[in-house]
């Protein structure tokens, strides 16, 4: 199968999945009890959302969809907009269009996610290799114990502990907000621990598996210096499948910074999404959901392509296999 055909097929699947996601979300949200206006009336005593009148909002809603438009038509109107990157105005942040909110808030989340994955890789690869080379030693067991800690605690809980330590006790870092580079440290650290643990575990076991391969023994039998054999034969082959883990982790992080954002009051896209859900801001909810799905699928596609490129066995499938196995 040619690469172009493969990519083509994947793109078709991607579009179909996006349509399915949009229908699913739209249908579910139609079933949701209470709408934005109701909710605002209930809450209007308690909260103040920028002084925008509720009635004007409903009015705007009607100008976009027209009164009494059937549900399926609403969906089509929404999708027509979505295709040309126009999700319409948000209910809650009435002065702004959904796509503008995405454009402003997503870079915040993406920065956090990228930095966190980079940091995680920087920690995980040496730690995993180190633990594998000393399998079953005290160092190995100790490292893996710490890794379990990172694995078990969700990012927001790590963040909570870090606030307690760095902000409340040591008073070194701000306890939240989004004003300067110093505000990056806590969330990136907190977000990287989980992925670092997952990746370190993966690197270790992948490395152990590769070290047991006969071709590593064969390379040593050829007189290879230990370090060269480990790097060229073992490490290289154990890191290739790492792409398949790191990619989805990145994708999950791009969309999963929300909890840390909520705890540290960082204006990322996740936070907007959560707020949109709480206040029934349908256009924002639909827009962000679709956007997140797109990011996830594009990342996964990219990972598969990179993997194909890195592993010659997959790269050349169907190329020369003249004799079966």
């Amino acid at each position: 199968m040619g690469l172009a055909v493969y990519i083509g097929k994947r793109l078709v699947r991607l579009v179909l999945s996006l349509i399915a996601v949009s229908i699913l979300t739209f249908t579910l949200l139609q079933l949701a009890p209470g709408n934005f206006a109701d909710l605002q009336r209930v809450n209007s005593g308690a909260t103040n959302f920028g002084g925008v009148g509720t009635e004007s909002m409903v009015g705007e809603l009607e100008t976009r969809y027209g009164a009494d438009v059937p549900v399926w038509k609403q969906y089509l109107i929404f999708m027509k907009g979505a295709v040309v990157w126009d999700f319409g105005p948000s209910y809650k942040y009435a002065s702004r269009n959904v796509q503008d909110i995405i454009a402003e808030a997503f870079p915040v989340s993406a920065t956090l996610a990228l930095l966190a994955v980079l940091l995680a890789l920087l920690i995980a690869v040496p730690v995993g290799v180190f633990a594998a080379l000393r399998q079953n030693s005290k160092t190995d067991h100790g490292t893996m114990f710490v890794v379990t800690l990172g694995h078990a605690l969700p990012s927001y809980l790590s963040a909570a502990f870090m606030i307690l330590l760095f902000s409340a006790t040591l008073k070194l870092l701000p306890s939240g907000g989004w004003n300067g580079p110093k505000d990056l440290i806590l969330p990136v650290l907190a977000l990287s621990l989980g992925p670092a643990a997952v990746l370190a575990r993966y690197v270790r076991s992948s490395m152990l598996e590769t070290l047991r391969e006969e071709y590593v023994t064969a390379a040593i039998a050829k007189g290879g210096p230990r370090r060269t054999v480990i790097v060229r034969h073992a490490l290289r082959n154990s890191l290739i499948p790492l792409v398949t883990v790191a990619g989805p982790l990145l994708a999950a992080l791009m969309t999963g910074t929300v909890f840390v954002e909520a705890l540290l009051r960082i204006p990322g896209l996740g936070l907007y999404f959560a707020n949109a859900a709480a206040s029934r801001d349908m256009p924002l909810l639909m827009g962000t959901a679709l956007f997140f799905a797109l990011i996830l699928m594009v990342t996964n596609l990219a990972v598969d392509l990179i993997y194909r490129f890195l592993d010659p066995r997959i790269r050349t499938v169907g190329g020369v296999s003249d004799d079966g196995h």
């Binding site: 399998q135 391969e213 006969e214 071709y215 023994t217 064969a218 390379a219 040593i220 039998a221 050829k222 007189g223 290879g224 210096p225 060269t228 060229r232 034969h233 290289r236 082959n237 290739i240 592993d311 010659p312 066995r313 050349t316 190329g319 020369v320 296999s321 003249d322 004799d323 196995h325």
Partner: protein, 321 residues
Amino acid sequence: MNDEALLSVRDLRTTFGSSLTAVDGVSFDVRRGQALAIVGESGSGKSVTMRSVMGILPRTARITGGQAYFGGRDLLAIGDKELRKIRGREIAMVFQSAMEAMNPTLTLERQLTEHLIWHGLCNKAEARKRAVRALGDVGIPDPEKRIRTYPFQLSGGMRQRAMIAMAMVTEPDLLIADEPTTAVDVTVQRQILDLLKGLKDRGTGVIMITHDLGVARYFCDDAVVMYAGRVVERAPMASLLDDPRHPYTVGLLGSSVEVGGRELALRPIPGSPPDLSRRPVGCAFHPRCPRAELPRCQTEQEILTIGPDRDAACWKVTVDA
């Protein structure tokens, strides 16, 4: 010690973990241009023996005794740094399955040249030339083109040839072949063996680990039979098979089926090989041995000379003579 021996192993002992002795006092010699068969069933310790000599044991294994003289040096004593200069350059190894013993993500070129460079034998361009020549020598057509492919792109037989080329490219003095034809079909087996025979004729010493007596007879000059980590019989190849002395060797032959042997009654050995962590006291074979006599067989059996170039680890055999 035999002066003309290329490799001379004495009293080798290798243990796994704390209690399991996989190789227990093994000795043998290999001469230049000769092939030695190490014959045994699974778990007999034949592979561990050769991996001990090469210094490529798994982490849980320890060499706890013995010497292995090669070119005046004791391979077991010189340390990994010195041993590394010999491995792959003077002693090379061919494995059972090239599919597993060749790195799937590196081209043949990379794998056939890297050790030439590690050992400082030549530069990159020269290494490539040598690798192409080696591929041609083992009968791979169009080596210039094939050297750019990956192992999985070759057929089983071709892959096995490529692995032999990988071992031979440094022109080693000794080749250790660990079941080199077990993974290939019979029609290919003969070709591989003939290829190795060519090397032997050019003076390379060969140690062939095998469970296949037919392969051993076709290719080897001398044989060592192993059972439960020990050598039970040592003899020139033809004498061993035509006139086996140790009851285990007799049983092994009685178990061999071969074409044209339909009328020959099978005389299988009863029972199965012992769990090495619970080796029977004395001769490890005595619980399965039709000639066993207690309590004499429950004492340690020395390896005894029973004729010119022949030894066996069984007191019964000397009584026969």
